[in-house]
Symmetry: C2
Subunit: 209 residues, 2 copies
DNA sequence: AATTTATTGTGAAAAAATACTCAATTGAGG
DNA sequence: CCTCAATTGAGTATTTTTTCACAATAAATT
């Protein structure tokens, strides 16, 4: 414990959590690291090591208690609370995310969606929210305690908007824009580069990775 | 050369390619590994090593020729040709992707989009394509030489459909469904787990990764 | 033509991440 | 209450990935 946590761990923790949820739904209440590994194509020792960075949650001879481990992971992942998010850009991707009901109920609350297109501003989306003017983004973020921004805008304006939300005090950005964002290091970033996924895939197909 | 290529390289190659495109648009025709590194937050030595797995494309004293390196990367990434793709699931995400014009013109051609909902089947999307019946998926994949499938369906049916496209001879899957897919190892996989991105991000915010 | 500056490619070193091993526990079954 | 099978946690070893360091080379300048 209190060692440095390998970077890949944050992704795997979210994967463990997802598996536990589905196990929990099926009524399973105990699971071993080897079963987890089997389900996720990971070595059991990896699973144990990942979890052990945060404490000894398992019981020797038995394994891990599913509901308990879920609670622990919720805490570690920071989803034992609710995060207010804003979606910037009401294009295909922005709207698809806004209508992605899974977000709610998993700790993420859509507080706003903004765009610069006058034709879009004012339009209602599901759940009663309307598309607001991107110009008001600073006030929106501050007044509604928004901590996470989803950037779903063209690459040309993404850095500009990122700087903007950073100066409004955002803590993390999920970036769908196809470019490398420059951010102060206290702001966390997750990149989702759809097009690059396709290219990585074709690379793998061609090179048999 | 002909060493084993580290797994993270496939993602970085796609990132280099994207940067080169934007440089090329600006008219830059030569770039050094340190400039690339600067733009992408990578060490210059990493850039050089990544590229050197595939050959010595740079010129000492000068750097890399942008158009040349782009062509090389297109070949390596497998986007010097066109890939036929099918989108499975015409929900929010499936439709957003279908309307994502960037795919075309980057080597990926949307050949079909299918769903099981009779209310959706037959509906036209942009570019003239209609939503087809998922039952015909096998014939569609075989007749149209589709090699890549995008899975944008609920988790419950994702493994079933994955097995189906695999048996139709698909070579790679981009998976948006929130579960771990079990695939034969000759089928390549890229996972895009939207919800987990949010959780990784909240983890990073909370744990200051 | 010699010197200087820039920059690559690569072998070697360092760091990071993964996998192994096994003592320590736990619970179950006699 | 003893033994056995299962399983964790953690120290150690191994593998993978990144970074360093520098000879080799290219172009520009004197």
């Amino acid at each position: 414990m209190t060692e440095k946590i390998p970077r890949p761990v944050s992704k795997r923790l979210a994967i463990y959590y997802r598996l536990l949820r589905s196990l929990s739904k099926k009524g399973t209440d105990t699971i071993s690291s080897s079963k987890i590994g089997q389900s996720l194509d990971l070595k059991p020792s990896q699973v144990r090591k990942d979890l052990s960075y945060f404490g000894g949650f398992g019981k020797r001879g038995t394994g891990y208690n599913v509901p308990d481990l879920m609670k622990v992971l919720e805490k570690i992942l920071g989803v034992d609370r609710s995060w207010n998010i804003i979606i910037i850009g009401a294009g295909n991707i922005g709207l698809a995310l806004a209508n992605y009901e899974n977000l709610v109920g998993e700790g993420f609350h859509l507080s706003a969606i903004v765009d610069s297109d006058p034709a879009k501003i004012g339009r209602k989306i599901q759940n009663g929210l309307s598309i607001e003017n991107v110009n008001e983004i600073d006030a929106i973020i501050k007044n509604r305690n928004i901590e996470i921004a989803v950037l779903a805008v063209p690459a040309e304006i993404a850095q500009f908007l990122a700087d903007k939300v950073v100066s409004s005090g955002i803590k993390g950005i999920i970036n769908f824009a196809p470019l490398h964002l420059d951010l102060p290091k206290h702001v966390r970033l997750e990149d989702v580069h759809i097009l690059m996924m396709f290219k990585s895939l074709s690379f793998k197909i061609v090179n048999g990775e």
